[in-house]
């Protein structure tokens, strides 16, 4: 499963959604890959990926680095989430553990592609230029990554 995460109205925060839309176009016919757009992390993200073997999450990142820089991260690269850090929810690692404990089939592998954002606080439907340039690069790298890994059989959602 591929999940584009972000907000379509807040400039670079929409980069994950843009990449997901482009991947959907490029992966037409690949029935074993499900692509969705999502607007919240935490529990929502866990619930969305439940029932899938592998998940790729694409999102903007506000790490203070160079705008448009592309990072490939794993769950371990996220600061461990705790209630104190979560505005309305549990963070993804905690949510995944909860899902697993509650019997959901959460993915064994979660990969995160993050694009360093320049602006996530201005209402706009456009990406800033550096982030726009990162879109095709992430698309190609995700496609290459998909080709390099053997396909898996889709599972039924367990909920």
């Amino acid at each position: 499963m591929i999940i584009g995460l972000g907000n379509p109205l807040l400039a670079d925060d929409g980069v994950g959604l843009r990449i997901a839309a482009e991947l959907r176009r490029r992966l037409r016919g690949r029935s074993e890959v499900t692509i969705i757009e999502l607007y919240s992390g935490g529990m929502w993200l866990m619930e969305a990926m439940a029932g899938h073997e592998r998940a790729i999450v694409i999102d903007a990142m506000a790490g203070g680095g160079v705008a448009g820089a592309i990072h490939q991260l794993g769950l371990g690269d996220l600061p461990q989430t705790r209630t104190a850090d979560s505005t309305h929810d549990a963070g993804l690692p905690v949510a995944l553990e909860l899902g697993r404990a509650a019997g959901l089939q959460v993915p064994g592998e979660v990969q995160i592609w993050a694009v360093e954002a320049a602006d996530v606080e201005t209402f706009s439907e456009r990406l800033t230029p550096a982030v726009e340039r990162a879109v095709p690069q992430v698309v190609e790298r995700v496609l290459k990554d998909l080709d390099a890994t053997p396909p898996v059989q889709p599972r039924r959602k367990s909920q």
């Binding site: 790490g63 991260l73 600061p79 209630t83 979560s86 996530v120 201005t122």
Partner: protein
């Protein structure tokens, strides 16, 4: 002056920052709570068609799109002078009740509950929903996930989409409810009622009967005697979807009662130099600073204040819990102990579940009459609902073609900015004493002061974190960092 910053730049959603300024003796001189400022919303909307607003505003936030969607369609009902048929109003409220149950559930089990159920001094790795599940039982974890799943399904059925509903239209709703859908929603509502009752039992058993937690709830650290705001029906009973906004003073006497369209007569916004955020206050009292009491215009709009402005609840089980709640505080109303907001939230969850059941079994809910077609453009519309985090107001003005000229939103959390800043400051003042090292448990108790409001820190950003979850910097008056605390996971 020393400065302590609590800076949870985190997760996949938003971030906020607490600054605590210490004087030379190490006592708290001031405290502030800041959230990122989202810029340019009015400009972004100007010139767009008013009827696009329910879709646009529901995307402001990935957490409460349903609240924005409904406040927006209610504003459009007025702007297009189209009164929705009764069934349309009921469908809207039905969807909203499903949303309230899932939102309040998530808050209690993932955010509010861990401080009590795992304990405020539990290590951070325990102070989360997993810590709750370890103590309350795995069945509770499954129940939370099932509750979210069934209510998301109801929202999808009624609203057209899983996350951002699309069914709201000026003058009504785009689809009616079939008998099969109604039956499924009724079943979901019954299970919601059971789950809300279970959650209230957990609260009573684990929190209220534990003397340590009870003392924390009742303590002065988390007490503020401000005005209370909420929405009530004609009999002054709580209504989350519709009614008039009612404000009571710190003694519980009615101070104002008005339709949302008159909000500008009652609420004004104060600006502080240290933040772009505005602080709404009661216009007729005036801004007197971050102060408690009847002479200060500060008010709060939360699950607790909604109970405070209500004479009662319209559903029987929740009404019993409402009575039990006030009896537990010695029959005093309003209750000003802010940690009681967590309890009030669960009472609202039961109310929403029962109201959902009442609407799902209302014979009119399957009526095909769900739309009044707008015939003219009035040009002004103000819509409001009670969002989980407080009264939410959408105000639109358009030209004669329905193109937007002006947009103003007061989000639930916005109402509470002054109250949150005051709560954080008071908790810091009570908990940080001269010369004492600021420890993890103390920081968490200060965070509890804003967590109880469930603030929507940045109703929209989903940037991945790039820093540690929490950094505390203690600086001396020369600005040198003399101590850095990093809270690792």
């Amino acid at each position: 002056m020393k400065r302590v910053s609590i800076n949870p730049i985190t997760r996949l959603e938003g971030h906020g920052k607490i600054d605590i300024f210490l004087d030379e003796r190490g006592n708290v001189a001031n405290a502030s709570f800041q959230v990122p400022e989202l810029r340019g919303f009015e400009q972004f909307c100007r010139g767009r068609q008013a009827e696009d607003m329910p879709a646009i505003t529901s995307r402001i936030c990935g957490v409460c799109p349903e609240a924005h969607h409904l406040a927006s369609v209610k504003a459009l009902d007025q702007l297009f002078a189209a009164e929705p048929p009764p069934a349309a109003k009921k469908i809207r409220e039905l969807l909203y009740m499903a949303f309230f149950v899932t939102d309040h559930t998530t808050h209690f089990y993932a955010l509010g509950g861990p401080d009590f159920i795992a304990g405020p001094d539990a290590p951070p790795s325990e102070r989360n929903i997993l810590g709750v599940v370890r103590r309350v039982g795995l069945a509770a974890g499954k129940a939370v996930i099932e509750c979210r799943a069934r209510n998301h399904r109801v929202i999808q059925m009624l609203g057209g989409r899983g996350i951002h509903p699309t069914a709201g239209l000026p003058g009504g709703w785009s689809k009616s409810v079939s008998e099969a859908e109604r039956a499924e929603i009724e079943e979901a509502a019954r299970r919601n009622v059971e789950f809300a009752q279970f959650s209230l039992q957990v609260f009573e058993r684990v929190v209220w009967r534990n003397p340590v937690h009870r003392e924390m709830v009742e303590s002065g650290v988390y007490c503020h005697r401000t005005y209370s705001m909420g929405t009530v029906d004609a009999q002054n009973r709580l209504n989350l979807y519709d009614g008039e906004i009612r404000i009571v003073d710190p003694e519980g006497l009615e101070f104002a009662r008005f339709p949302a369209s008159q909000y500008l007569d009652h609420v004004a916004e104060h600006v502080e130099p240290w933040t772009y955020l505005k602080f709404p206050f009661l216009k007729k009292i005036g801004w007197k600073g971050f102060q408690d009491g009847a002479a200060s215009g500060v008010y709060a709009a939360t699950p607790l204040t909604r109970l405070n402005v209500s004479a009662g609840l319209s559903t029987s089980l929740a009404q019993c819990e409402f009575e039990k709640f006030y009896a537990a505080f010695g029959g005093r109303k309003p209750v000003h102990q802010r940690l009681a907001t967590h309890w009030a939230r669960l009472i609202e969850m039961l109310y929403a579940a029962e109201r959902m059941l009442a609407l799902a079994t209302d014979p009119e809910i399957t009526s095909p009459e769900v739309r009044a077609i707008p015939q003219r453009i009035r040009g002004t519309g103000v819509g409001s609902v009670e969002a989980p985090r407080g009264t939410l107001i959408h105000h639109y003005e358009s030209d004669e073609k329905g193109l937007l000229r002006r947009v103003n939103l007061i989000a639930g959390t916005t109402n509470n900015h002054a109250a949150i800043a005051m709560s954080v400051r008071k908790a810091a003042e009570c908990l940080i004493r001269a010369g004492k090292v600021v420890e993890e448990g103390v920081l968490n108790r200060i965070e509890m002061a804003f967590r109880l409001y469930d603030p929507c820190l940045s109703c929209a950003t989903h940037a991945l974190p790039g820093s540690m979850p929490l950094v505390v910097r203690v600086r001396n008056h020369a600005g040198e960092t003399i101590r850095t605390l990093r809270r690792e996971g």
